[in-house]
Symmetry: C2
Subunit: 501 residues, 2 copies
């Protein structure tokens, strides 16, 4: 197993083939950026039901691009979702595509998504979120890093091979969805249904949908937190009331809701729901060491966040609370007054939104039960006549992989070739539920290979990808094809030698 | 003082003059409704800065109507307001109008406003809020009752006198503003400036900008609560963050804000800010009796609210907590996620909005100090590195009048004539700061004469005025002109007799 040792530098010097590919990519960078601009211009926001058509249009555009690469593309219908108001809304189709079927080559399946988080200029964007705009080497636009840029970088890498008439060292498969930002509805069922079909001959699964931990140093991701999102609805009647006409004589739903939300987490960030920490994996000495070797600039991370003081002062404290301990965030309230200015309203029906980031080995069903039970208990002590409804709107399991897998070795070598240094081996505090889902269902080797820097601002205002990361990311994917192809050949040869010995 | 005793029935039977006026008003009701439809169609929302032009347009439309009645109209410029973001926004002009100058007649000044609360169809309106729509005898539309309907009813009443060529029994003055829903900016300064000019020859001031306490029984209002609105801003940085990337390692502004808002009021509706009840007027036996005589249908009031259970079970408990005790309502949060669905965001800057309804003899400056001091104290105990800013965005004093004034007697008689019964003598839990301002500055007799029923839904979805109330309200104002004219003559005659004796 010497070949797959962690931390080993690439045994392959930058070859003529690689140089040829790098040259092509450098020469065509403006064309690649133009493609990204076209994609960012599509407001494929999967969160807001009214924009569903744009998501579908984005998926179809992506399918066209894959077809023009020579891939066979299937658009899979996923059915409908049920909205909170009871209405039914069609899900966008999902892409299954295939490029190459050589049984001598490994088959790598790439996962990405082409839907985006909501964005509005007035939320504080310096540029229009749906017009990719280059300023000082950065490409600003919703989806630039999450996740249109990485999907296109993968496509660009394949295009380089095609344009240069270099044979692909791997068979490729693509699974591209349009509902990632809204909980990947329908995806898990599809993976289950396709496990014995589309996935049967897949060797490796690569996901590029997260960030490095630093602004400049690449990273490989071997784990993510999960998530459970909750709605807490309190209602007193059907219509909003005037605080002059009813203030002082009714149990106001906002007062109940604020008390419920206020019972969730203490000033140190500790979650107050009884039992919530019971199943959290205990910290081993081996895991502790992993954190020590990570190059992590606390000040840089603070600067990226715009926040002056974190809850923890050390690298280890920060990383552990992002990666291996759960957290609870309150996102907002639906139904209350939210505009600038003053409105003396008593909202009749308010819905608090919060989420808990899951870690190994928390169980989603247990967490759901704990949250509902706790909030119902807090509410019952208020003696309020209002109606309470607590529901889990979305959930995703956490995921952890084995960092000694060949997939990780190939990626580490490619990073060394393109970026000149070894990557940080990191986890992600966010949720890529698909990683866990792929591993659980297909039992294939799964890896996350990000190209977005820590300051990309995904889910935030002024999301961006740097021109450098987008172009080097394209090179990284191309070299990764070469490395995993080589490694696969070596593995086969080793296996053949064993057989002949 | 026998003439002005409370509860006395009108000594004047419905006269030929009154019948002539009633007939005219009944015959022209559709025309009056058409006028209201035109006014409701103007989205004169004074809360949202982007709609300021519409408010100004509405004020100008009103000025045109008053001019066509024969009034001399002045549009007074009020300068600008400073928005929270530091920008300056022009205030709409204010109308000062005058109709008649006969020194033998009393001069009645009418106050109303033509701006409205924000409204959007998607907030839960059954009809378009800016298209007046009649359904089952009710006229639905934003401003139907608050306050375009009452302003037009007053104008309609004058039109009846003009059309029938009946001499007006009173001189009229009008003060109509366009910033009531946004705190009547500039109004107090104007009243002060005009006290020795426009108001010098005014005898009585009538305000019609509130509701009856019942669906069917008219009321006269002799007091209102005040209000103080607060903004509580908590900020951690300049841009929103992703809860996957920062959840668990920062002090989230929403967590701080929820804790601050959660410290304001307990489950029984009692305000937790130390000292807030210190200056509340103590309850006398005389005041207690006032509540006992009011016809108040608790079940009807509950049905109007859509709320099943109030904090108090008795009529007195309800009315006292609406009128003579302060209340605190939390209206909402600006800057957090407020749309349907899920967004795993950590908002960087959130502003909680709440208000405290003031009662005699609470002092606004003291309340402001108590609130700011308390919230800063609660925040300091959290050891949060975030920035807190508490500010009072708007304030209005409470107001109470003497119910034995001639103005109230005339109104009581007019109500008896038009509606056939004595009014409830009530206060209003809401804020008509102008009532207090008029009384404080001009020292004139001030009265509130509502025509909106308890289920009008002002500030709420599906605001309405019934056709009956709108048309009977027009008659009420016409008869009120006759009654106050007569009463004034009798007062003068009594005064002359005294002089000649």
């Amino acid at each position: 197993m010497m070949l797959f040792e962690a931390g080993v530098s690439s045994p392959f010097a930058s070859s003529g083939l690689e140089n040829q590919i790098f040259q092509y990519i450098d020469l065509h960078q403006n064309q690649f950026i133009e493609s990204l601009k076209e994609w960012v211009a599509v407001e494929s926001d999967s969160v807001q039901p009214r924009l569903r058509q744009e998501v579908t249009r984005m998926v179809e555009l992506t399918a066209d691009r894959l077809q023009s690469l020579g891939a066979t593309v299937e658009l899979v219908k996923l059915g409908s979702q049920k909205l909170p108001d009871g209405q039914s809304l069609l899900l966008p189709p999902l892409i299954l595509a295939e490029l190459g079927k050589d049984p001598q080559k490994p088959t790598v399946c790439f996962y990405g998504h082409v839907d985006v988080q909501p964005a509005k200029k007035e939320d504080g964007w310096k540029t229009d979120p749906f017009t990719l705009t280059e300023i000082d080497g950065n490409l600003y636009g919703r989806g630039a890093t999450d996740d249109k840029g990485p999907v296109l970088a993968w496509i660009n890498a394949v295009e380089a091979f095609r344009a240069l008439k270099i044979g692909m060292p791997v068979n490729l498969k693509f699974i591209i969805e349009g509902m990632e930002e809204a909980g990947s509805l329908g995806l898990e069922e599809l993976i289950k249904a396709e496990n014995q079909h589309f996935f049967s001959n897949v060797d490796y699964i690569v996901i590029s949908d997260n960030l490095w931990i630093s602004i400049r140093k690449p990273a490989l991701t071997y784990g993510t937190r999960g998530n459970t999102c909750f709605f807490v609805e309190v209602q007193c009647g059907e219509r909003d009331l005037h605080s002059g006409t009813f203030g002082g004589i009714i149990h106001e739903p906002m007062t109940d809701l604020i008390a419920l939300l206020g019972s969730l987490v203490d000033t140190s960030g500790r979650i107050l729901i009884p039992g919530i920490y019971d199943d959290v994996a205990s910290l081993t000495e081996e895991e502790k060491k992993l954190y020590e070797s990570i190059e992590f600039d606390l000040e840089e991370y603070k600067n990226n966040s715009g926040v002056q003081n974190f809850l923890y002062d050390t690298k280890e404290g920060i990383l552990m609370h992002l990666w291996r301990y759960p957290s609870l965030s309150i996102h907002g309230i639906e139904g209350a007054f939210h505009e600038p200015g003053t409105k003396t309203v008593i909202p009749a029906r308010v819905i608090g939104k919060f989420s808990i980031r899951q870690v190994p080995h928390m169980n989603i069903s247990i967490v759901e039960h704990q949250v509902i039970h706790y909030l119902e208990d807090v509410f019952s002590k208020r003696n309020s006549p209002n109606k309470l409804k607590v529901s889990m709107s979305m959930s995703a399991m956490p995921w952890v992989a084995d960092v000694n897998d060949p997939l990780y070795t190939a990626a580490r070598r490619a990073i060394k070739t393109v970026f000149g240094e070894d990557p940080d081996m990191i986890r992600d505090g966010g949720t890529i539920p698909v990683a866990r889902t792929f591993q659980n269902i297909t039992r294939k080797s799964v890896m996350m290979l990000p190209i977005g820097a820590a300051d990309a601002g995904e889910h935030s205002q002024n999301e961006k990808i740097s021109r450098h990361n987008y172009i080097q990311g394209t090179k990284l994917f191309a070299v990764f094809f070469l490395e995993i192809g080589k490694l696969h050949r070596q593995l086969q040869e080793a296996s053949n030698m064993k057989t002949t010995n």
